[in-house]
Symmetry: D2
Subunit: 282 residues, 4 copies
């Protein structure tokens, strides 16, 4: 029998990087986690233990730090592109490169009513992410957000569903809808996009729609959110949303002679619903 | 040989509770994790398997939900006191009760420029906590904060320290100081304290001092932060601070002909320094 | 603009199930985490909030418990197939079902030298997993293992690799190779496979090869492990291995006048190499 | 106002260490996580930023690696004592030292039916831990175990408990008892103890008693386990056990016409009971 090498990749994950930019009157901070992954004709590496075409993952890590020093980081989509281009030029053997970046948010401390020039606290509101992929033929840019926990306590129903012999769920016109948004979207063209603006508009479109939507299900709201993002940001060609349903169960207080009119809930960690969909332009 | 029962406690941990308050024009949300722990003469429970003096932890859990319905929650210190008093009256056998509460922050979504009446996103800035303990003689109230990640990129030094044969650290006048603040403080008297105000002042005192301090070490800044809290909030009698030193190591770029003038850092997760101290009024 | 629904799925994740089988002289225990995911024409659910074709994820959860009671669980591949078939019959609208199962290992306590009839402790050696997918046309079965931490302290080298201006890694003929094996393999045909035996043979083939291999890189050992699995288990058509490189760095003790001859290491959690490949029959 | 420094400590946490011992025909591996914490008169460090009495935590880390090279590690209690004595001699200012060590278990791979000379997999059965504390007057040694998950599916009841208006729990004579054992015990005298043997006997005593006990409550079994340890290991003066009650709830299948005779359970992660007690010799 001869075994055959199929799709493969290798790289360095979780490269942690903080860059402090010392401006005249203040410091700026960037805090990133970077992953670099290579795909190519690495048959000899796998079969023969011949490493001559293999750039070590340690060198990938060094390159992230060196390029963070040599270049402006810019938006994470731009730093991703910088890294992809560097490796494409540097390494003749790699065929496809994927760079994944998360940015950990910091906010300036407000001390005595003023933003502090060099002290910060961790920000909230989700983690911005980007994935840049490149081949010899060009670049593709995806952006997104993770860990954005949201909840609405009205305008959420779930009823009229399919039933069978194992149905015990009761239909409701008024439940808590809570989820941790994870979104990934693709930009039509990697040139001349204002990534900071596009991110901000996409994020706000998603949240605005979440808030205002008359939800019949997580699926229903997911689709509406994706649609809003496509409407608001023309550069986005498609968006994939992954929404765990963070169930909030109504506590039964009837044995204590108490009525629980959608007031007291127990949030449960498991099991959880998990809803995913890709929304594209038609 | 006869074994003897020493200090013991039992209770329910991680009781998750969300309460939605339906006001005319908006909803308010409270999101708590509650722990209830009993201490008393439970010799017969342990030795003889005689449970007649043992209130089940399941009943503790039910009581949290029932009381959240029957009473105003108020500040978490107040809800803790409500629970302690309830159990003290309810159970003749318990000698000492400890209730621990964390409050998970939610912020209103801003949609179309306005705060949303019933949609929220998870807030940042650390988790507020309280511990209320009670005996037949009275209550004690501790408050605090967890998970408050802060960083300053100037005004932090570490030099002049003790050296030995295993010293390799170089003194520095300019390093990143980063930590995840965990603080617990004790109130002098559990009556007539404005807990929301005291918390807010203590937190701000801590952060103001962190920002402005000319730090010679984590210990130095820890003490200054504790001192500021005692100065700003007269009701606080002592504060315990626990500060992991989240090391940010300067990356050596010299092999690439690059100078790294306190610009590029790698944040490391382990090992980490860990600094703890209690600061009291003298 | 009209948005379009692309690939989508919904389901219930992390359904926790323990089944105790009461035999004459002993109990057997099964401890599973189950996920059930549906894919189909759910356009109306997403667009119109019409749930009439949507089986609630709560019903999926109930079905897992009910079928665990009504049927023998058997091997997890078999229970996965039981669930897929049930939902396929039960729900006329679903097109594709994916059931994912992990089995948490328990070992009998040995007390007084004998295996205990009804007391257990958590076992080691990795977590067995299976994924069964089904359509109206038939079933496909994948099996695998997660969280299998292995290390070898000899017969591992990494040298002869590509270098560039950012290379600082030194070649080595003797390093620690450590990884957490995650493997997924596909069975040729879902009928008449002895899943317990195939799993056991695949796992042992992987570990035998890991131990005996003269490793030139993680890739080299990964391929050898996959090849061994294909050789040993004819029912397997392909295997995907995901191997993080859990770096163990040699500690520099030279400043203390101590030589570190591959003896003292610091295992680091991040960054880490990440090597993935699919090995198929040619 | 003058603030006063109360109880304080500083040190290095999570120092990761792997030592490979190269014997003629095989390798042995030790894998430890070490923490070193100092307590003393560090008033000037905290108040004045005077570090002259402060041994950096970086030096603590270096010392762990250097001593791991220079000395036999031996049992973790012995390596803890080695570290405490080193720092006590090395640093004139420290008053009290605490060294905490966990040992991560590795088992030899069995390949072709034989234990492999230099390949290992992660072992199960809990993590052995030790804490050595020292002052100028001597040493104290605690040992223990963490993360030992056990379950029994018979001989566990909970009934006859105190009830009130919020009781809904039903008494049971047959429930699953599951917990993650965390134990810490103190040795009478740090000299001439066979730590490996004492650990092994204490652990086995605990597990034997867990298996055989006719449990009326977690407290009841906790006490019995502690008592067994004191009986079996004369060098132990006291033991503290911390036992979360990992609830396994009976699933209600009655709506589906199915009887669930203690067969199908859902293990829940939160909330959980938490039972702690110290058992001493009387």
């Amino acid at each position: 029998m001869t075994a055959k090498l199929g799709r493969n990749s290798y790289g360095k994950s979780n490269v942690r990087l903080v860059k402090i930019k010392r401006l005249g009157d203040r410091h700026d901070i960037r805090d990133l986690t970077v992953g670099v992954f290579f795909d190519g004709d690495y048959d000899a590496v796998h079969r023969a233990g011949d490493n001559s075409h293999c750039l070590p993952t340690d060198t990938m890590k060094n390159s992230v730090y060196a390029l963070a020093k040599m270049k402006e980081i810019g938006e994470i989509e731009e730093f991703g592109a910088t890294l992809v281009r560097h490796f494409m030029v540097d390494d003749p053997y790699v065929a496809r490169i994927r760079v994944e970046i998360e940015e950990h948010p910091w906010e300036r401390l407000v001390a005595g009513g003023w933003p502090h020039p060099h002290a910060f606290s961790r920000g909230g509101g989700g983690t911005r992410v980007a994935t840049v992929t490149g081949t010899r033929d060009g670049l593709g840019v995806d952006a997104g957000i993770d860990d954005l926990l949201v909840l609405k306590s009205a305008d959420s129903a779930f009823s009229g569903y399919l039933t069978d012999q194992f149905t015990t769920l009761r239909p409701t016109n008024d439940r808590i809808l809570a989820t941790v948004i994870s979104a990934r979207w693709t930009y039509a063209d990697a040139i001349d996009i204002d990534y900071a603006l596009a991110y901000s508009l996409a994020r706000q479109a998603m949240l605005d729609r979440f808030g205002e939507h008359e939800s019949q299900s997580v699926q229903h709201t997911l689709f509406a959110m994706g649609e809003a993002m496509l409407e608001r940001v023309p550069e986005i060609t498609s968006v994939r949303l992954t929404l765990p349903n963070k169930h909030h169960l109504l506590v039964d207080l009837s044995s204590f002679g108490l009525e629980n009119d959608n007031e007291i809930f127990v949030p449960t960690a498991e099991p959880f619903g998990l809803i995913e969909a890709l929304i594209t332009r038609s």
